[in-house]
Symmetry: C2
Subunit: 152 residues, 2 copies
């Protein structure tokens, strides 16, 4: 059996890009936590709000496609946002299968309060915008290749 040097061993934790991504996601989450606490949002809830701030009055499925989440995750999350008076859930009259998610006035208003969040994250990243954009594009490309494999 060929002996591998530690820096090349693919079975080592530190050599795995997936662990890098996994642990970076958690690190982001910890940085976001205090910022989002002030808004009364969790990070996944913040993502849903970002979607809705771009376009309102959309079915659950549309939100799910943008965030790669299913109804099992979104249904209870959206109920919590509704309980917090940030969104309203109403069944579509055109297609009774769909539930449309609309922002309440408070939900719209929260966008302004959230405006400083991205720059706080940028500061914590301690990195230039152009570097972050380049990394983001690489990671998105990787994600899309992975997602392409799943649908096979």
């Amino acid at each position: 059996m060929a002996r591998k040097s530690a820096t090349l061993d693919p079975q080592r934790l530190d050599n795995q890009i997936c662990f890098a991504v996994y642990s970076a996601a958690h690190a982001f989450n910890r940085v976001y936590k205090p910022l989002l606490d002030r808004l009364g949002l969790t990070y996944p809830q913040y993502l849903v709000m970002l979607v809705l701030w771009e376009r309102d009055d959309v079915p659950v499925k549309d939100i799910g496609e943008k965030l790669f989440l299913d109804s099992g995750t979104l249904t209870p999350l959206l109920k919590r946002l509704e309980a917090a008076h940030l969104v309203k859930r109403t069944r579509s009259s055109e297609d009774e299968r769909q539930v449309l998610i609309a922002l309440t006035p408070q939900g719209h208003a929260l966008k302004d309060k959230a405006r400083s969040v991205p720059q706080s994250i940028l500061a914590a990243s301690d990195c230039s915008v152009s570097e972050l954009v380049a990394m983001k594009d690489e990671i998105v490309a990787l994600r899309d290749r992975l997602n392409a494999v799943i649908g096979e």
Copy 2:
């Protein structure tokens, strides 16, 4: 109020590196799922096994430091691994506060069965090893900068 072009608006979902990382982590998880199902492991359990395959008989805290997880996550996870006969948990006699995690023979044996996992992931990434290593190093550096901010 200055109007921002959509490609620069920092409040847009698609412009956020954290969402790229978040969604890439989930994509990885979905690719891993069928591979790890055969081993009877979840992804976080697989990470713990990677740590233990490198070094055995370590306290819970050491595993937590490597994976950035706390006892609230690890204690139940390790109990499941023990129920699956992959690890043994024993209180240290030198320091009764610590619980040492050791691999069982089955736990050791699983390393061989898991050997093909990294190359399956590499194939799904559809990317050269050198590109992945470069990305991994960038992401780890970002993660470490984020974690540095948290401890302030």
